[in-house]
């Protein structure tokens, strides 16, 4: 294997800028590895070799000609397959969109093209991002590079397995309840959900509009920051995007320190149901931070108890409406039943054949939650919980600069383990969901291997809305402490994935 693919993105950018490597060389290195390992990992649903190389050629030509290039020009990237791309099919992991090539690029994809980053391909996800394991992808699950018998997290398991398996240096994910952070935790990578509105959602196939947020997937905090600086910013096409800039995350990541930082431990996310090894590693990190000058304070967020319940009302409600457009009339799959079918029967047959079980489950749940007579009890109450959770955060951030918790209760579980038990699956997101409900930013960084299974665990950092810089500053500082203790990056502990396994 080319050692090039194992380097952090920030190092690769320096090599590109200094002319030590070309973008074509780098892009080829990743494409070669994809060719070899994607059959095993199923990280990508579609590989865009030709288009990626064309971008790389263009970057190299411009660099050779001495033209000014954007910061990350020539650095390859993978994009989750729920963002629209005009040069590649976009499926959102669903059969109902099989073969659909969008007529427009998502704003984030447009920004990546402007940055001249070769897009390697589209990564796998649970259908319409509904799931925590990629087992609900209509195109088969992605595998965890640490153990191909285990899930890479979800919904963004394609991006996490690509970045953890060195099939891409960085990737784009989307996080509705933990879909960037949970996969990061179980694959030993970094996943960030920015403040709601920091990154335009235009072109992101919506799951739950008020919860969805696009963010970076990477192997370290600085890489996440570099990518965040490319994809963030106001977009007139997304009315919910923030008009003001949140500043440079790369600057924040480079100037991180824990000295004098008040780190809040969320009482409600440090108790039962967490795997002992995950908890042990979490407590070690707290000690590390104290040694580095941080102060640990305990905070209470009593309403977090209702977060999952509220989330599983708001999400299906919005999703049931967002997914109504998949009706065969204008795009995507069309199933025409026997006989002389009416439009209603064509729509029904298409949705019956095109949607998987988890999608149907949530559409039914959401339709029910919005029904007249139930609206107040379900959707209305859930919105109230949302307000309470925001208040919990506000109170907690009075006492602490940043909040921490284990990202997920467990390490990566085995395929099939929770497939028949939706509630157990939903509980994976217990620590990540509150940030989506409150619109606040969160980041998961590698937090060492759990002793009982030698699998990665993650620590989640949470900051107030618009204070994303704190995550990068404190995350980078903690990451440096970890690497000093471990002697290398956590991803370097990962066993080599065997081709054809």
């Amino acid at each position: 294997m080319s050692e090039l693919v194992k380097k952090n993105a920030s190092e690769l950018v320096e090599l590109l800028q200094s002319g030590e490597i070309t973008s074509v060389e780098l892009t080829h290195a990743f494409l070669d590895r994809i060719e070899k390992l994607n059959p095993v990992l199923n990280s990508y649903l579609h590989v865009n070799a030709k288009e990626a190389l064309a971008t790389a050629v263009e970057v190299d030509r411009k660099r050779a000609a001495g033209e000014k290039l954007p910061m990350l020009a020539g650095l390859p990237i993978a994009v989750k397959d729920n963002l629209t791309t005009t040069d590649a099919p976009t499926t959102a992991g669903s059969k109902i969109l099989e073969g659909w090539i969008p007529q427009y690029d998502a704003t984030v994809v447009k920004l990546l093209r402007e940055e001249m980053m070769p897009i390697l391909g589209k990564t796998n996800l649970d259908e319409f991002a509904m799931g925590s394991s990629t087992e609900f992808s209509a195109y088969g699950p992605s595998k965890n590079p640490w153990d191909t018998g285990r899930i890479p997290g979800g919904s963004g398991g394609g991006s996490s397995s690509a970045v953890a398996g060195f099939l891409a240096p960085v990737a784009i994910g989307s996080d509705t309840g933990g879909s960037i952070r949970f996969p990061a935790a179980v694959t030993g990578t970094v996943g960030t959900k920015p403040t709601y509105g920091a990154v335009s959602r235009y072109g992101l196939i919506a799951l739950a509009s008020s919860l969805d947020q696009i963010g970076p997937v990477s192997r370290n905090v600085l890489d996440a920051a570099l990518l965040s600086d490319v994809i963030s910013g106001y977009d007139k096409h997304d009315s919910t995007s923030l008009p003001e800039s949140l500043g440079s995350m790369a600057e924040a990541a480079k100037s991180g320190s824990l000295k004098g930082v008040r780190v809040g431990v969320i009482k409600e996310l440090n108790g039962e149901g967490f795997q002992p090894g995950v908890k042990a590693r979490f407590n070690e990190s707290l000690e590390l931070m104290v040694k580095a000058g941080a102060e640990i304070v305990e905070v209470s967020c009593p309403s977090f108890e209702y977060a999952i319940a509220a989330y599983y009302l708001i999400l299906p409600a919005e999703a049931s409406s967002n997914l109504a457009k998949f009706d065969s009339v204008r795009f995507g799959m069309r199933v025409t039943p026997e006989g002389n079918p009416t439009i209603e029967r064509v729509m029904a047959a298409t949705r019956e054949a095109g949607f998987g079980p988890e999608v149907k489950r949530r559409i039914i749940l959401g339709t029910y939650a919005l029904s007249s007579g139930y609206y107040d009890a379900y959707y209305g109450s859930a919105q109230k919980v949302r307000t309470l959770i925001q208040r919990d955060f506000d109170a907690a951030f009075e006492k602490a600069d940043v909040l921490v918790s284990p990202t997920a209760p467990t390490t990566a579980f085995k395929f099939g383990e929770k497939l028949e038990d939706p509630l157990a699956m939903y509980l994976n997101d217990i620590a990540t969901i509150p940030a989506n409900l409150a619109g606040t930013p969160g980041m998961s960084i590698p937090n060492g291997l759990a002793t009982e299974d030698d699998l990665p665990s993650g620590i989640q950092l949470l900051a107030p809305a618009r204070e994303d810089k704190r995550l990068y500053a404190i995350g980078a500082a903690l990451e440096a402490l970890h690497e000093a203790v471990w002697g290398k990056r956590m991803i370097d502990f990962a066993p080599e994935v065997k081709a054809g396994a």
């Binding site: 729920n82 963002l83 629209t84 976009t90 959102a92 969109l97 659909w100 969008p102 007529q103 427009y104 998502a106 959602r201 235009y202 072109g203 992101l204 196939i205 919506a206 739950a208 509009s209 008020s210 007139k236 096409h237 997304d238 009315s239 919910t240 409600a317 919005e318 049931s320 409406s321 109504a324 457009k325 998949f326 009706d327 009339v329 204008r330 795009f331 439009i343 209603e344 729509m347 339709t367 919005l370 029904s371 007249s372 609206y375 959707y379």
Partner: protein, 500 residues
């Protein structure tokens, strides 16, 4: 679809009180659509003014058209409404192929404008105050054309075509509170109300306001209850009644139909009904209940509309003159009697008249043309005057031609007919067809000679002081010259002859 049995109208009103409610959709004439940058012009080649947003492609998001918000505020203010400091969009969820996203982005519990009133004058001169419940913004759906089958409806069609040019066109829906107490005048009030809304949005310049093009559409709710009964009767909603005349007829029809049913021990079904212009009846549409479940919820892709006080006051300051004040002013300027003026107002021709006068016609002449011949022709064709293919400029030109003596009234009517048939403007028609009145004495003298030859005793009668005898000769001359003779000049020449 048999014609329902109807109760005599006067009898129906003796027995029942009528309650109406009106929902008027006004299509805004913004340059672009409600939530995207596509041109707001659905007359173009089908599916040309479309984009990922208005055809609801996955991943697309709406962004509110600021101009549409301002137009909606202007409508709200003109109707005396409060403007919501925090208006929200909601999704109205239902599946239909003309609805690109299978939900309509509309306003539900937080409309942009609410609680207004408007005074409406009906033809009798009575004035009713209509309370406005709300005016809210929403997007239009695409247009379906059902091919095959013979009803033009989706049932029985072989296939259907969808044109999304209209999808996302901005609409303002204005909803009244129930209107009580109009009695026998309820149908006239309904029509006069819609006419007022049309006048207002036209004066505001926010809509083209042409009913025949669907710029203004009305759904009329009608219910009746025995006099003295507290509980409201079951209502029907007659959809898309698209002319003022039809609104009046449809409301009257519903009153008579419902009265017959109730008087015979039946019950009214709560439903939408369709108005059939040709047969003058309504027919049953789909049953509608208050429990229709559209699963409304706040549109998460849009932030609330929060117009600043400055913006609201700025719009308020730029509102055109209120219709009532304008009417008072115009009546004074034109020096019309109350009766003459009311006739103009009731015919809905105030705008036309004002424009015609502005183009140079004398007010009385303009009035006579519009409320006389033009109204008669419209009536004969079962249309609204505003829907005829004639402009105020045409009428001003016509009036000026008559005023100057270039043509007479009769020729004027002929020219009018030609304008309506699309032959061009009046001056052109007069020139093309050589219709100008002949006042050349030579030609007239020849015709008079010929006429006198057949009626030799006329000159003698005139000399005896029986001036009316000239009439017969004038008539003969006019006939000979196909009406194009200058009758005044002919008369003068005959009298000159007699006295020679």
């Amino acid at each position: 679809m048999a014609k329902a049995e109807l109760m005599n109208y006067e009898q129906a009103l003796e027995k029942f009180e009528v309650v109406i409610g009106l929902e008027v959709h006004v299509e805004l004439n913004t340059n672009t659509k409600m939530f995207c940058g596509c041109r707001n012009d659905f007359g173009d080649e089908p599916n040309t003014n479309v984009c990922p947003i208005c055809i609801g492609l996955p991943g697309s998001l709406p962004a509110v058209n600021r101009k549409a918000v301002e137009s909606s505020i202007a409508i709200g203010l003109a109707l005396g409404c409060e403007i919501a400091p925090n208006g929200r969009f909601s999704r109205k969820n239902y599946f239909y192929p003309d609805l690109a996203k299978n939900f309509q982005t509309s306003q539900y519990d937080e409309p942009i404008a609410f609680e207004g009133t408007i005074d409406i004058e009906v033809p009798s001169g009575a004035v009713y105050t209509v309370d406005i419940e709300r005016a809210h913004m929403e997007e239009d759906a695409g247009k379906l054309t059902h091919v095959g089958g013979n009803t033009g409806r989706i049932q029985g069609a072989e296939y259907s075509l969808v044109d999304y040019n209209r999808a996302g066109v901005p609409l303002v829906e204005i909803v009244t509170k129930p209107v009580y107490g109009a009695g026998a005048e309820a149908p006239e009030l309904a029509a006069a109300y819609v006419r007022s809304i049309r006048e207002i949005v036209k004066a505001l310049g926010v809509s083209d306001a042409r009913m025949e093009r669907g710029n203004v559409r009305c759904d009329a709710n009608v219910s009746i209850r025995p006099h003295g009964q507290e509980k409201l009767g079951t209502r029907t909603e007659t959809k898309n009644v698209n002319s003022l005349r039809s609104i009046e007829r449809a409301v009257r029809y519903e009153i008579q139909r419902q009265a017959h049913i109730i008087a015979n021990g039946g019950t009214i079904t709560q439903e939408t009904r369709h108005w059939h212009e040709d047969r003058g009846i309504t027919s049953s549409g789909r049953p509608k209940s208050d429990a229709d479940d559209y699963r409304y919820f706040p549109e998460p892709d849009l932030v609330p509309v929060q117009p600043s006080n400055e913006l609201i006051e700025q719009i308020r300051a730029s509102l055109p003159e209120k219709p009532a004040e304008r009417r008072k002013r115009l009546q004074g300027e034109w020096q019309f009697s109350d009766l003459e003026f009311r006739d103009v107002v009731n015919s809905g021709l105030l705008d036309e008249l004002e424009e015609t006068v502005a183009k140079g016609a004398k007010p009385q002449a303009a009035r006579k043309w519009w409320t006389g011949e033009i109204a008669r022709l419209a009536n004969a064709e079962g249309k609204d005057v505003a829907d005829l293919a004639i402009t105020p400029a045409d009428v001003a030109e016509l009036a000026t031609l008559v005023e100057s003596g270039k043509i007479n009234d009769r020729i004027g009517r002929e020219v009018l007919q030609a304008v309506l048939e699309g032959a061009g403007n009046p001056a052109k028609i007069v020139a093309d067809r050589g219709l100008e009145v002949v006042s050349d004495d030579g030609a007239l003298q020849a015709a008079i000679d010929e006429a006198l030859a057949k009626q030799p005793d006329v000159l003698e009668k005139i000399r005896e002081g029986k001036l009316q005898a000239a009439g017969a000769v004038i008539g003969a001359v006019m006939q000979a010259m196909k009406g194009q003779a200058d009758a005044g000049r002919v008369r003068e020449l005959i009298i000159e002859r007699a006295n020679a």
